[in-house]
Subunit: 372 residues, 2 copies
C-alpha cells in the first residue's frame, strides 16, 4: 500500500485535534506566510487602512489581532501608535511572530499569545479588532467564526472592526477550463473501462460493479469541484451580482453559515458561451458610524488584468456550458452552505434559467459544487 498525493479528508465527525491537523498546520509554515506577505493587493490594503487612519483609529488604542500569523498587522498597529496590541495565533508561527516583534522594537506594545482565539483570556477589552480572516471566496475556512467570537467577548461597545465590511460577488464567465476538465473526466472514465477489462482478463476479478462510485468520485473531482483561477476581466460575459453583504460589527455565525441569493445577469456579447461563474469578494475598512475612517480603503479580489491576489477567484463550471446572445438574461439561484463533513469547506448549488432576448425561456438547470 502507499498513499498518493494527500486528498482532502472527508469524515463525519470533526474534533479539535483533527481540525488542527487538517487546517492550522499549513499556517505553521513560513512558506505560506511569505506567500501571503508577498500579496501586494492584500498588503497595501491593510497597510493603507492602518496608517492612513492611524490618527483616528489606532493611536493610543488597544488592538486585538486575530490569527496574527507572522505578526505583521500587529507590528503595523504598534508602529501606527497603538497603546497595546494583543496578537493571538493558534499555530507555532507565534514563536516567529514573537521574534519579529522583538526585531522590530515593538515588544513593549505587542504581546503575542499562543492559543486558540476561543480559549484566550485578555486582561482588558479592546478598541479595535484587526484580522485577515478571509478565505477563498471569502467564507472558505470559516475563520470569521473566530473573529465573531473575539468580537463578542473582547470588543468594547464602541469598538471597531478592521475590516468593517465584506461583500461577495458572482458573475458569468467564459473559460477554456470547462472543456479541459470535461476531457480530463472523459479520459479518466476511458481509463477506468480499460482497467476493468484488464483486471478481468489478467486477474479474474470483475470490477464493473464499482463503475458508478468511481464515476461519482471522478465527477466530483473533475466537474463539481470549484477551481482556483485568476480570471481576466475580458472573460466576464454578463453583469456581476452582489450576493452577500456582511457588517463585521454585527454579523452572527448564523448569518454567514449560508449564502442564499437570486439574481439576473444580462449577457453582453453575441454568440458567447457561459462556461460558468466566477465568485470573489471585497472588504472595506470604514471604521464605525461614530468614528468613520479618514480614508475608506478597499481590498478587492475581483478579476483584474493587473492586480492578482493569492485568493484569485473561485470558478464554478457548468457542464455543458450555456449558449447565449447579447441581451439574454441568465437567472441564477445561488446557495452556499458549509460542508456537512467538515465545516471549513463549502457546498454550493447553482440553478440557472435563461430568458432569451426573443422572449423564449429555457429549462432551469441545477448543478452542485464543492469548494475544497
Amino acid at each position: 500500500m502507499e498513499l498518493g498525493d494527500g486528498g482532502a479528508a472527508s469524515r463525519p465527525r470533526v474534533d479539535k485535534e483533527v481540525d488542527f491537523a487538517n487546517y492550522f498546520c499549513t499556517y505553521g509554515y513560513l512558506y505560506h506566510q511569505k506567500e501571503m506577505l508577498s500579496d501586494r493587493v492584500r498588503m497595501d490594503a491593510y497597510y493603507n487602512a492602518v496608517f492612513d487612519n492611524a490618527a483616528v483609529h489606532i493611536r493610543d488604542k488597544v488592538v486585538l489581532d486575530v490569527g496574527t500569523g507572522s505578526g505583521i498587522l500587529a507590528i503595523w498597529c504598534a508602529q501606527a501608535g497603538a497603546r497595546k496590541v494583543y496578537a493571538v495565533e493558534a499555530t507555532k508561527m507565534s514563536d516567529h511572530a514573537r521574534e519579529l516583534v522583538k526585531a522590530n522594537d515593538v515588544s513593549d506594545i505587542v504581546e503575542v499569545i499562543h492559543g486558540s482565539m476561543e480559549d484566550v483570556v485578555l486582561p482588558e477589552k479592546v478598541d479595535v479588532i484587526i484580522s485577515e480572516w478571509m478565505g477563498y471566496f471569502l467564507l472558505r475556512e470559516s475563520m470569521f467564526d473566530s473573529v465573531i467570537c473575539a468580537r463578542d467577548r473582547w470588543l468594547k461597545p464602541d469598538g471597531m472592526m478592521y475590516p468593517s465590511h465584506a461583500r461577495m460577488w458572482v458573475a458569468p464567465i467564459r473559460s477554456g477550463l470547462g472543456e479541459q476538465k470535461k476531457n480530463d473526466f472523459n479520459s479518466a472514465m476511458a481509463d477506468w473501462h480499460s482497467f476493468v477489462d484488464e483486471t478481468q482478463a489478467h486477474y479474474g476479478v470483475n470490477m464493473g460493479v464499482l463503475e458508478k462510485p468511481f464515476h461519482e468520485e471522478h465527477e466530483k473531482y473533475f466537474l463539481q469541484t470549484s477551481l482556483w483561477n485568476n480570471v481576466h476581466p475580458d472573460q466576464i460575459v454578463g453583469s456581476a451580482a452582489l450576493i452577500k453583504e456582511i457588517d463585521c460589527l454585527t454579523a452572527s455565525v448564523e448569518e454567514i453559515r449560508t449564502v442564499h441569493a437570486e439574481f439576473s445577469s444580462k449577457i453582453g456579447a453575441d454568440r458567447t458561451l457561459v462556461s460558468g461563474f466566477a465568485g470573489w469578494f471585497d472588504v472595506h475598512f470604514r471604521g464605525n458610524s461614530k468614528n468613520p475612517a479618514t480614508r475608506d480603503v478597499e481590498l478587492t479580489t475581483a478579476p483584474s488584468a493587473e492586480d492578482c491576489t493569492h485568493w484569485g477567484q473561485q470558478v464554478f463550471l457548468l457542464h455543458p456550458p450555456i449558449r447565449a446572445n447579447a441581451g439574454d438574461v441568465v437567472g441564477v439561484r445561488f446557495v452556499m452552505s458549509r460542508a456537512k463533513q467538515y465545516h471549513r469547506l463549502m457546498d454550493v448549488e447553482i440553478t440557472t434559467t435563461v430568458r432569451t432576448s426573443g422572449g423564449k425561456s429555457l429549462q432551469p438547470r441545477s448543478s452542485k459544487f464543492f469548494i475544497e
Copy 2:
C-alpha cells in the same frame, strides 16, 4: 488568509481521529485503489503467490486479509479455494469491497469487516494472514504494526504469513535530481532575500530575523526530504547492501521501529558522482518451515528498466555529492527511526566515509533526511 497546497501535518501528539484524517482518508478514494490495482508487479506477485500455492496454502483454509481495501486479495483467496476469508478494512472502502465480493460470487466465503484491525474480534483463529502492508521503502506508514497485532491475536500456532519475509536494500546512485534540488533551494533563498528587502522598503518591517527558520524549513523541504523516484539500474554506481531482513512470522514492533545498518559499497565506475542513495525493498511468499511454498514468489521494488512499481524507490541525496572512482569504497552508517511527531513517517541519518583505492580516507559526513 488562505491555505496553500496541503502540507504534511507535523504535531507532537497523535490521536486516533487525527491519524484517520491524515492517513486512512486517502485509502477511501477509488482513485488510489485503482492506482494500486494497476501496479502489475504488485498484482502479479500476489496473484501468483495465491494461485501457485493454492493447493498447499489456501485451499480449505481460513484466511485473514488485513487492510483489504477493494477486497482483491480476499476475493483471490476465495477463488483459490479458501474455506473462509475475513477481510478487515478501516475505511469506508469496505462498502465497495462488499459490493465487489458480491459481484464476484464469493459472498459465502468472504466476510468484509469494517473496523480497525486492533479492534476487530473474529469468531475463530486463522491459518493464513495475507496483507499488502508495505509502504514506501517498506516501513513508511508503519502499517505492519497492525499486521503484527493481527498475527499475535488471530494466527494459529502453525499458521503462515503472506508475505512471509521482507528485506530492505540500499545502493549508491548518481542522479541529476541533486543539482536540481540544490538549485531550487538556492532560488528559494534568493527569493527570500528580495522579499526581506521589499518588505522593509514598502512596509517598514524587518523580516531578516526569520532568515534562519526560513532557511531551515526550506533546507528540510528541498534538501533533506527523501524523494520518490523510479531509478534506472544504470544509475546505480556501487554494490547494493541488504540493510534489514524481516521474518513476518516472528518480527516484533520493537524490531521494526528502528533500522540500523553499517555497510560498505564498492564504486564501480571511474570519475563518478555519488549523488546519494536509493532505498527499496522486496518481499517473499515462502509459507512456513512446516509447509513451504510450492513456488517461492518474489515481489521486488528494485530499480528496473522494465518493471516499475507505484512504490518506486526512496532517494536520499547528498549535498554536496561525493566524487569517487572505481575501486573506492564508500562506508555507510544508516539509521532509520520513526518520526517523533507522527509515527507513520520516518527520520533517517546517513553517515558516509570514503576510502579511495589509493588508501586515502576522507572525513566522515552525516546527513539527516525525512521520509514524508
